[in-house]
Every structure is written in structure tokens, then in C-alpha cells.
Amino acid sequence: MSAPILTGHGLKKYFPTKGGVIRAVDDVDFEMEKGEVLGVVGESGSGKTTLGNMIMGIYPPTSGQIAFSGKALPTRAKDRPVELRRDIQMVFQNPASSLNPRRSVRQALEVPLRVGGSKESVKERIDELLKLVDLPVEYADRFPEELGGGEKQLVAIARALATNPSIVVLDEPTSALDVSIQAKIINVLMRLKDKLELSYVFITHNLSLMRNVSDRVMIMYLGKVREVAATDEFFRNPTHPYTRMLLSSIPVVTEAEEAVKPQKTQSIGEIAGALNLPPGCSFHPRCSYVMDVCKKVDPPLLEIAPGHWCDCHLYPKEYRKEPTT
């Protein structure tokens, strides 16, 4: 097995504020293989966007390292050599704000092409990029306000690909789009992944999407990784109580999907505020399997099955499926 293309070790990002320290990302390890889609799933406060920003170098971690193809990655984007910066790109969540409303598609795509001194004819490359994302080449002279949400996102993807990256961080790329358009964007993304041998860090809160798109799923809650597993294994055997709560809350469309959701778990409680994290395991106030130790000790992330990690005091010693309440 080749070395992973991207790894994170002991990543922490703490934001000091007047009311205390916000532990946005609290000791996170992760690994991504080349050509893989790593799904990072979480709700608000989970730290998934901050993690993405750290990979991009937008925020330097408070501690911890990220390695790209085995070599340590400088923490700030500014400190990274240009080729390295161009090798990891990002697609943002909101199509409306990710394109400058006063610049045409062509002008937006020129930025990554001019910088870095591309020798090819820039115009040809722009046409190539538009074709790559299934947009007509005539769109080059359009402005964002003339494009639909899905089309704007495709332009954002074209822009991210302009520098021939190996890794693309996708931060909720389809959450702001209608269902009928989401599918198109996802299809383009998956096709390009195979064609251009890309690896994706796919950040989202949509588990149904993850089921069909990612190779591995990583669940985050309040800054910590709660469960990581290969997608099939994950959905066959969701173990962490938070994961089960998340799965049980997903609105689904077919009877078959209803049957797959954990039946005995229901969402309760609020996501704790960042400044008032519960002691021990920060999920314990909402957990129906809570034990005394959970209130005092933060559980370690342990491998409970090959490639399947979970941080919960229930595992791997016991493998209880019934809730205590």
C-alpha cells in the first residue's frame, strides 16, 4: 500500500476569545490515500471547516502537523512554495460569494493561470477548463449574475482545477444547491476525480451523499473525531452513539432507507456551545448510553475493527447495542 497523500497528526486549533478558549479542532489525526474521497461529516461546531482551512493553510494550527506526500507541509499558505500552494485547492460552499461579481468567468479563471507563469495560451486553457466541467465555452465572457447556482459552482471547480492540483478540499460544495443540480455537480466532480487522478477531502453534513461518494467517512463532533471507517463498513456497522443519532435524524425518501436507520436512537439535546464544553466526553449530555466514566474522562480514539476507529468508552471492550435508558 502506498503512503497516504495527506496526513494530519495531533492537529489542534484553539481560538482565544474574551469568554474563554474555543477548541475548534482538538487533537485530530487523519489519513487520506491518493485517489480517495475522504468524507468529513459534522454539524455546526464540529470543526470540519476549520480542519479544511488548516489543510489549505488559511489558519495555522495551534499545534500538530500536516504532511503532504510524506513531507511536512508549512502551516501557513504564505510560507508554502507556490507549486505546493497550487497543488492543494479548495471549492467553497456558497457559489454566490466564491466568484467575484464584478469579474467575468474568463477573468476569474485567468487569475490562477497567469500567476505561476503558465506558458500555454491562457485562452485555450480556459476553454479546456470549461469543457472539463461541462460548461459551454461561450460562458467565458459571462458574469456570475448571469449564471445559475450550479453553473457558478462549476466555474469555481474549474478555477480550482486550473492549477492542476492533486488534492481538492471541497467544503460543502452542493449544500446551497437544489437537489436536481446537486447531482450534476457531484457527477462532474466524480468524473474529474478519476480523469485527473485527484484526491478529495469532502466536507459535508449530508450522510446520504457520503454514502454514495466517499471511500471513507470521518465523523466529527465538537472538534474531535468520533468515528472513522471505510464507507461500506461505516454504514454496515455505525458504532459511535453520536453517529447513530446522526443517522437516525436524516430525513430519507424511501422505505428502504428508513429501514436502515437506527431505530432505537433519537436526537435529543442541543449541540453544546463552544465555550461551555461538557467535561469528559463532550457528547455525554446527549448520549443514551452514558456511563459514569463518560462524564469525567475523554475517551481515546481506538481501532475497534480493522480500519474502523471509534472514540467511545463503550468500545472495544463491550459491544453493546441496547441503550441503557
Binding site: G148, S180, N187, S208, R211, V252, V260, I271
Partner: protein
């Protein structure tokens, strides 16, 4: 007599470029105690429809035809006083953005008291108002209602704000509650709680509900009947289970297929093409530009045809005269 009847509603908006002919002969009806959902993607006219019912349309909107009857009375021709009474005592609305309905510079107490006093026909003493406020907050499953009353909106989480909105809506929604994407801006686990709470409340109090959303899964477990809207037209209606298990209209079928499934199945196909412009909508069926089954007759406006069971679809495929062999 149905509680609410909307017949052949046509609404247009005046904009710089011309008239946006949004609603195109929309008809919906709602019995007492019934829960009805309107599903559709963005800008399909679902919010315009309910805003017309509550007569909250923007100043550049023009009601070009049709009627709206509440308990038999013509809402569009109603006097301001009668309308005000209706809003005060019979119907209310919850919006998508939990912060939007709450004034950030007043405490919850001030806002809730105002609503209670305004909607009551008799003068209430301070004690009575306070007791009512607590009752409503408790109905919305808010813990520590006294603390909530003293809070400002910014001190509450999204889920709590939405519960406050529900409490406020309950004050005047004795007969009809309109919920416009109530869970869309909330985290999945919180949205699940809010929707379950809402369902429990409306069933207990036998309040009729119109639930608007673009999330198919959310509406499925909530409403008895569904209307599917596309580009300002109702394209399908029927009992929830039947519409989901056996969608008739090509748009509904493609929409359900476009949702990624929790059970797997790969990345779904999207729906190719775009929503037609409201400035120059197709003269006949508005789905004509994207429909794989289009026929010549689709250049005319389709009626709602019975398709078996209690379902109806606005599609010539179900017209005896034009059904393809």
C-alpha cells in the same frame, strides 16, 4: 367546507425587465386538521403561494387572477380589519431563518408579551400574560422558560430560536400554521427534534399545517398530502405515501431519483436543463424544456388528471385523449 381553498391563483412580479409570471393557476386546498406539504426547488413559487394566502406579498407583486378563500371568505378582497383579525387569531407563519422573526434588540419576554397581548381579545393582566408566555414556551419544549424570557435572541442557539418562533406562532395559530422551511437552516440532529416537536404539537391541537420545503425527506414523515411544485405550477398532488412510492409526474419521478440514497446506489442523475425564465415562460407545460416524455400537445397547458388512487398529475401522459399507445 375546506379551511383554505386556493383556486387558479396567478401572481406576477413587476421587475425592471418586465413581468415575472411566477404563479400559474395554482390550486391547493386544506381541510381542518389536515397537514399538507408543498415541495419544490428554489424559486418554484411555494413561498409566493403562501405569502398570497397571508397577503404578505411584496409591493411589486400583482395578483393576476384566481381566488383564495379562508373558511369560505374571500381573503384577497378582505378588509384590513378582518385580515388583521385573521392573522391575530387564526393563522400564523414560521420562517426559515430563526433569527429573522426575532428583533435582536428586544428580549424574548418583550416580544412574546407583545404577541400575546395583541392577539388576545380581552385585556390581560401582567400576571396572565406571563403565565401564558410560560405555557407557550413549555409547549415548544423549551427548558427553563424563565431564563429564555430574559434572553436576547443572540444568546440562543438556532434550535432554541426556532422553538421560540414556534411558541410565538402557537399564540395566534389556532387554525392554520404555515411553516416555510422551518428546519433548513438548522443542523440535522436539531432539525429532527424540531420537526418531531412540531408534528406532536399540531396533532395534539388539531392545527392545520402547510409545510413548505425543498427537502423531500423532511416532508415525508410529516404531512398527509403533498403538492409538488415546479416553476410556479402544481405538477402533482396526492397522499404522501402514494406520491413517494409511486410518483406519476415525470418531474416528481426525476426529483426523487435525484436524491442520494442512504442505502447506496451511486451518484444519482440530475435533471438536465434549467428552470425556465419567469419573464418568458413556456405557454404550455412549464416542464417541457426538460421532460424526456414531451409530446406535441405539451405546448398546451395540461389539466390535473387523475392517475389512480387519490393522486393527480398535471401531465398529458395521463390524458385519455393524448396518452401514448
Amino acid at each position: 367546507m375546506p379551511l383554505l381553498e386556493v383556486k387558479d391563483l396567478r401572481v406576477e412580479y413587476r421587475v425592471y425587465e418586465g413581468m415575472l409570471k411566477v404563479l400559474n393557476r395554482v390550486s391547493i386546498s386544506l381541510e381542518k386538521g389536515e397537514k399538507v406539504g408543498i415541495i419544490g426547488e428554489s424559486a418554484c413559487g411555494k413561498t409566493t403561494t403562501v405569502k398570497t394566502v397571508m397577503r404578505l406579498l411584496a409591493s411589486n407583486a400583482k395578483i393576476a387572477g384566481g381566488e383564495v378563500r379562508y373558511s369560505g371568505e374571500d381573503v384577497l378582497a378582505m378588509s384590513k380589519k378582518k385580515l388583521s383579525d385573521l392573522r391575530r387569531r387564526n393563522m400564523s407563519m414560521i420562517f426559515q431563518d430563526p433569527s429573522a422573526a426575532l428583533n435582536p434588540v428586544f428580549t424574548i419576554r418583550q416580544q412574546l408579551y407583545d404577541i400575546i397581548k395583541y392577539s388576545s381579545d380581552t385585556r390581560l393582566s401582567k400576571q396572565e400574560t406571563h403565565e401564558k408566555a410560560i405555557t407557550y414556551l413549555k409547549q415548544a419544549a423549551l427548558p427553563e422558560p424563565d431564563r429564555i424570557l430574559d434572553s436576547y435572541p443572540f444568546q440562543l442557539s438556532g434550535g432554541m430560536k426556532q422553538r421560540v418562533n414556534i411558541a410565538m406562532a402557537l399564540v395566534s395559530a389556532n387554525e392554520l400554521l404555515i411553516a416555510d422551511e422551518p428546519g433548513t437552516s438548522l443542523d440535522v440532529t436539531i432539525e429532527d427534534q424540531i420537526m418531531r416537536l412540531l408534528k406532536q404539537i399540531v396533532e395534539e391541537k388539531r392545527i392545520s399545517v402547510i409545510l413548505i420545503t425543498h427537502a423531500l425527506g423532511t416532508v415525508k414523515n410529516f404531512v398527509d398530502r403533498i403538492y409538488v411544485m415546479y416553476a410556479g405550477t402544481i405538477v402533482e398532488e396526492g397522499p404522501t405515501k402514494e406520491v413517494f412510492n409511486n410518483p406519476q409526474h415525470p418531474y416528481t419521478q426525476m426529483l426523487i431519483k435525484a436524491v442520494p440514497k442512504l442505502t447506496g446506489g451511486g451518484v444519482p442523475e440530475g435533471i438536465l436543463g434549467q428552470v425556465p425564465s419567469y419573464l418568458t415562460p413556456p405557454s404550455g407545460c412549464r416542464f417541457i424544456t426538460r421532460c424526456p416524455y414531451k409530446m406535441e400537445v405539451c405546448a398546451q397547458v395540461p389539466q390535473m388528471y387523475a392517475t389512480g388512487g387519490n393522486q393527480r398529475a398535471a401531465c398529458f401522459l395521463f390524458d385519455e385523449a393524448h396518452r401514448p399507445k
